[in-house]
C-alpha cells in the first residue's frame, strides 16, 4: 500500500505530495500548476524598492511557518458568517483551510445548468467547460511570487457559473474560514454567460479573533456581454492573518458589475483589485468599505482599465482607521487609445479616528485616448470635535457621537450598495468596532 507523504511546507517534495493528492485533476490543470510552481521558485519575494511594495512591509512574513493545503483538515463548527442574515439563498458553500466543508445548491437552480460549489470538485467534473476560462488567465499568474504560489497550489475555492441567458434572483453565498495557523489558497471563479444575471456574496472568517494564518488567493470575475453581476467580498479574517490577493474582473460589452469589497480583518493585507472594461458600454461600480484598528495594515492597489469605448467605471473606497492602523490605497485609471468616450472616476476618503493612524492615498491616471472624462479625488480627515461636542450637548455619549459621525462618513458608500443584508452587516460590524473608542487605550506613551 502507498502511503502519502505528509505535506510540511513549500518544498518540491511538498509540491509533489500536493499534486499526488490531486491525481484526478485534468492534465491541463496539472501542467498549469507545474508551470506556476517553476515561476514561484524562480521569482524573488517583492522588495521594498518596488514602488507597489514601498509602503508595505512583509519582512515579518515567513512562508515556512505554513504548509501547503492538505485534504485532511476537519472543519470545526463554524459561525454562519455576517452577510446572509435573513437572506434566502440559491446555494451555499462553506470552506475551511482551503477545502470545501459543506455545499448546497437548490435543485431547480442546478437544473438550469448553473454550477455552484467547490472549484476543486467542479474542475474535475467540468474540466472541459472550465478550461477556456483558465486559459484566459484573467489574473496574471506571473505577476509576482504570491500570484505564482497561488496558481501552483490553489486549493478549495468557489465556482459560480451561470449559463447564457439565465437570471438568478436569489444570491449565492460562500464562506471561507481559517483555523489557527491555517492556510487558505482558495480561488474564486465567477463566469456569467451572455445576458446572465447573478449575485454572489463571499466572506472570510477565522475560528478565533487572534488566530494566525495565511491567505494567498485570487478572484476572477468573467462577465460576458449583456450580463449583470453583483459581487461582494468581505474580508473578515482575524487580526493575525496575512492576506495576499490578486483580484480581477473582465467586463464585456453592455455588461455591468457592482463589486463591493469590505475589509475588517487581517494583520496585513496586500490586495490588487483590477477591473478591465473590454467591450463597449460596459459599466463597473466598485465600492470599498474598510475599518482598521490595532496595528493592522491594509494596502489596496486598484486598477480601472478601459479598453473599449463608451465604458463607465466608478470607484469609491472609504476607510476609517483607529489606533495605529495604516491603509495604503494606490489607484490607477488606465484608458487605452481605443477607449474614447470613457467616463471614469475614482475616489478614496479616509476618516482618522486616532492621531497615530495613517492613511496614504495615491491616485493616478494614465490616459491615451483624447475624448474622455476621468476624475479622481481623495480626502483624509479627523473626526470633527465640534460635531462630537454638539452631539454630546444633545445628550449623546462620546461613543455614540463618534459612531454617528462614522456612520455618516460611510453613508455615501452604503447608499451605493444595492444589497440590504450587506449594508446592514457592514454597518453593524463597524459600529461594534467604534464602540471601543470609549475604553481608555492601554498605550504606554
Amino acid at each position: 500500500m502507498m502511503t502519502a507523504t505528509a505535506i510540511q511546507g513549500f518544498t518540491q517534495v511538498d509540491f509533489d505530495a500536493f499534486l499526488a493528492l490531486r491525481a484526478e485533476e485534468p492534465a491541463w490543470l496539472t501542467t498549469l500548476r507545474k508551470d506556476a510552481w517553476q515561476r514561484f521558485e524562480a521569482l524573488d519575494w517583492p522588495a521594498r524598492n518596488e514602488e507597489e511594495w514601498s509602503r508595505t512591509d512583509i519582512r515579518l512574513f515567513h512562508l515556512d511557518r505554513f504548509a501547503m493545503p492538505t485534504t485532511s483538515d476537519v472543519a470545526p463548527p463554524l459561525a454562519p458568517g455576517l452577510l446572509t442574515h435573513d437572506v434566502d439563498l440559491a446555494g451555499q458553500l462553506i470552506g475551511y483551510n482551503s477545502q470545501a466543508a459543506t455545499e448546497s445548491l437548490a435543485e431547480e437552480i442546478a437544473s438550469q445548468g448553473v454550477l455552484f460549489g467547490s472549484l476543486d470538485r467542479l474542475v474535475i467534473e467540468q474540466g472541459d467547460l472550465l478550461r477556456p476560462y483558465f486559459d484566459r488567465e484573467v489574473v496574471n499568474r506571473s505577476k509576482d511570487k504570491f500570484a505564482a504560489l497561488h496558481a501552483a497550489c490553489w486549493s478549495g475555492g468557489t465556482l459560480l457559473y451561470v449559463p447564457k441567458g439565465v437570471a438568478m434572483e436569489k444570491p449565492f453565498h460562500a464562506l471561507s474560514a481559517l483555523g489557527d495557523g491555517g492556510i487558505d489558497l482558495s480561488k474564486t471563479l465567477v463566469i456569467l454567460g451572455d445576458g446572465a444575471e447573478a449575485t454572489l456574496l463571499t466572506e472570510t472568517a477565522s475560528t478565533s479573533e487572534t488566530d494566525s494564518g495565511l491567505h494567498c488567493g485570487s478572484i476572477e470575475l468573467i462577465v460576458e456581454p449583456e450580463a449583470k453581476l453583483r459581487y461582494v467580498n468581505l474580508q473578515n479574517w482575524s487580526k493575525g492573518v496575512w492576506h495576499f490577493a490578486h483580484q480581477k474582473a473582465t467586463v464585456d460589452r453592455n455588461a455591468t458589475l457592482q463589486w463591493t469589497i469590505g475589509a475588517l480583518g487581517a494583520k496585513l493585507a496586500k490586495v490588487n483589485q483590477e477591473v478591465a472594461l473590454t467591450g463597449p458600454d460596459a459599466e463597473v461600480q466598485v465600492n470599498g468599505v474598510m475599518f482598521t484598528e490595532g496595528r493592522q495594515h491594509l494596502s489596496y492597489n486598484t486598477h480601472q482599465h478601459h479598453q473599449a469605448p463608451y465604458c463607465r467605471s466608478d470607484l469609491l473606497y472609504k476607510s476609517a482607521l483607529q489606533d495605529r492602523a495604516r491603509t495604503v490605497w494606490r489607484g490607477m485609471i488606465k484608458v487605452d487609445v481605443a477607449a474614447q468616450r470613457t467616463d471614469a472616476y475614482q475616489r478614496n476618503d479616509n476618516l482618522m479616528l486616532a492621531p497615530t493612524a495613517r492613511a496614504d492615498s495615491i491616485p493616478g491616471l494614465e490616459i491615451e485616448a483624447d475624448d474622455v472624462r476621468c476624475t479622481h479625488g481623495s480626502t483624509s480627515g479627523r473626526v470633527d470635535e465640534s460635531q462630537v461636542f454638539y452631539a454630546m450637548t444633545r445628550g449623546f455619549t462620546r461613543t455614540e457621537a463618534v459612531r454617528m459621525i462614522v456612520a455618516g462618513f460611510f453613508q455615501q458608500v452604503f447608499d451605493r450598495i444595492s444589497i440590504e443584508s450587506v449594508r446592514v452587516a457592514l454597518g453593524e460590524a463597524i459600529a461594534q468596532r467604534v464602540q471601543d473608542l470609549d475604553q481608555p487605550t492601554p498605550s504606554a506613551n
Partner: protein, 108 residues
C-alpha cells in the same frame, strides 16, 4: 502591560550601532549609542521606510532614516527633522543578566 522580552546580548551591537530584531509581531530597531541602549519601531513616519541601517548620531542622540534623512530621537521616538513630523514608537529597554530586554509599548 506586556512583559519584557530578551532580544539580544549587549555584545551583539557595537557602539554606535544598531540591530534589527523581531519582537512578538513587531520589527524593532535596537540602538547602542553612548553606552545606552534604545529601541524604536523600525518605521519612519515620513513614508513608512525602515529605520534600520540608518546612521546613528551619538551626540545628537538620533537615528536618521536612510531614505530621505528624517531624524528621530532615540529615547522618545520624536521626529527631530523634516521630512518626518510625527514620532515613531519608542519602547522601554533594560539590560539585565547579560541580555537586552525590550517591553513593547502601544500594544493595542
Amino acid at each position: 502591560m506586556p512583559d519584557f522580552i530578551a532580544v539580544a546580548r549587549p555584545s551583539d551591537l557595537s557602539d554606535p550601532g544598531s540591530l534589527l530584531v523581531e519582537v512578538e509581531e513587531s520589527l524593532i530597531v535596537l540602538i547602542h549609542a553612548g553606552g545606552q541602549f534604545y529601541a524604536l519601531d523600525d518605521v519612519c513616519t515620513h513614508d513608512g521606510g525602515p529605520l534600520s541601517n540608518g546612521e546613528v548620531d551619538v551626540a545628537g542622540c538620533t537615528i536618521a532614516c536612510p531614505r530621505h534623512g528624517a531624524k528621530f530621537d532615540l529615547a522618545t521616538g520624536a521626529a527631530k527633522t523634516m521630512p518626518a513630523t510625527k514620532p515613531t514608537l519608542a519602547h522601554e529597554v533594560k539590560v539585565e543578566e547579560g541580555q537586552i530586554w525590550v517591553r513593547l509599548s502601544g500594544q493595542d
